[in-house]
Symmetry: C2
Subunit: 316 residues, 2 copies
């Protein structure tokens, strides 16, 4: 199979490509390297099993270069990874999320490429959803601009399935963490402690409680579900069985980094920023029924990630 | 109250403005007159109770001209009215729906305008929803590009509520019909019979079955709900109690136009075009519980509309 991976040099993308090449696929990557790094996939580029197109999917001309009729499936992962950014700059998620997804779909339509997997997010559910939240929850009322762009991407894909006969797999991810992480709470905490090992500032009161999934579990889940579910449009939550608090994450990072004397300072309030969802946990019954289960719970994934990122970032 | 109505010279917009001015509001209209007509609101323009800004909400500069800090509420109705268009031209709904809604919200944010009512649609539910479909149905999987743009607009509004403290009312409309209609099945049928009174071509097998709501009921429902529901984010289906088939609409239009000898030709297939939803009926319990009910059922609304549009279009 020949796969096009948008954001393929990024955190989740590079792990996905490891698995795709492991199973024998050929991979085309399009990435603007704004948060991804070609070093994440350098081995595959060197071996010739992956080719890299440095381009921005916000620009239709770049997408056209990457989208060729011999692509069997598009894995559309590229997006602004920083949910908080929308509180300050309001058009990033619109352009890099919604419009970029349109560009991908339109190039697929004109090239006759028929299959797409899309990285959506638990944040599409908003903050009034029951926990754990099943795929059938409605109405979805995202409270972040990032969440709005993921919902818009889902709708665009769904309409391309309904109007132009695409087949699609939409995955609503829990917080995905692991090696090569380029953003997120664990990444931030390690950088803060590297700057000042005596103090760790935590946004909010630390009681935010979310579900974390290790990135290897995430990409294995994607590929498993795509083999099992073959309807025109397939929607799956991907997450782990439990949650962890930000307070617990702070404790684990302090422990793993060896900054045992660090004072943990909470800025207060029930959430990290406007548009942050204090409590999130995905219903994963549908994922489990497909025959897939995670290998790590939230706390195991957090500890594993803290160790990987500590190794990558270093404390010196 | 000072209201800004996008698409205010259009079908639903002009009826809404009638009611707003009747209750004493001042109205600013922004409309590009692509399907709206200033004649629909000429009386209000002449009386000075409404002012018209000819502009396109796809252009942020035009939106800025209309959005001033003294606006109490934005009624955002402007959109491409032709659902079918998305099967041929794929960026119309993205630009005139999604991006235009972003332009409105961003101008509200920068001006400090805090309230918005939004015309969404039953088509956001897609075709696999149970009938009647309640607001709590999920997942919403629109099959038309128009539906995707309405869903994206809902998500943008929801995220502005969650991130920037807006208050919003989102209305998912049934098929809204009535005087001054500029598109839709009844409008099309009258034009077809005007061209050839002996033959009426109907797209699909005529068994498509949807719910129709008279536009006066629709705008009364909007204003009633907005007075009753005062949460930060309020979502309501607006529709009538029953449905009518396209076959029945064809019969009523043939009868009302007096083209009694017209042969009704069905093109066949279960839907009018790719992305058309064959069967739709909104759950209206929430609307009824707010204390609002419609004055016409689907067939009454269809007959009333056929007579109004016949009068407006004429058969000569």
């Amino acid at each position: 199979m020949r796969a096009l991976v948008t954001g393929g040099a990024g955190f989740i993308g590079s792990h996905l490509i490891d698995r795709l090449i492991e199973r024998g696929d050929e991979v085309v990557v399009i990435d603007n390297l704004s948060s991804g790094q070609s070093s994440f996939i350098q081995g595959h580029l060197d071996s010739g099993k992956a080719v890299m197109i440095k381009g921005d999917i916000c620009h239709p001309d770049d997408v056209v270069k990457a989208m060729t009729m011999d692509i069997d499936c598009v894995f559309h992962l590229a997006a602004n990874p920083d949910i908080r950014l929308g509180t300050r700059i309001t058009d990033t998620d619109l352009k890099q999320g919604t419009v970029a997804t349109y560009n991908i779909l339109e190039a697929m339509r004109t090239c006759g490429v028929k299959n797409i997997a899309f990285a959506s997010s638990s944040v599409v559910y908003g903050e009034d959803a029951p926990l754990p939240t099943p795929e059938t929850h409605g109405p979805c009322m995202p409270i972040s601009l990032y969440g709005a762009s993921k919902q818009a991407g889902e709708g665009l894909i769904s309409s391309w399935v309904g109007t132009f006969g695409l087949q699609a797999w939409i995955f609503r991810f829990a917080n995905i963490i692991g090696a090569r992480g380029t953003h997120g709470v664990i990444f931030d905490f390690i950088h803060k402690l590297k700057n000042d090992p005596t103090r760790l500032e935590v946004l909010g009161n630390g009681l935010q409680e979310k579900s974390y999934m290790e990135v290897g579990d995430c990409v294995n889940g994607i590929l498993h579900v795509m083999e099992q579910s073959t309807k025109p449009l397939n929607l799956y939550n991907l997450g782990s069985h439990d949650t962890a608090s930000v307070r617990r994450i702070a404790e684990i990072v302090v422990e793993v980094t060896g900054c045992h004397n660090a004072v943990i300072d909470y800025t207060g309030g029930d959430r990290g920023w406007a548009g942050d969802i204090p409590r999130a946990r995905l219903g994963i019954e549908k994922m489990l029924q497909s025959g897939f289960d995670v290998t790590m719970n939230s706390e195991e994934a957090i500890r594993h990630t803290a160790m990987c990122l500590l190794d990558e970032i270093g404390m010196e």
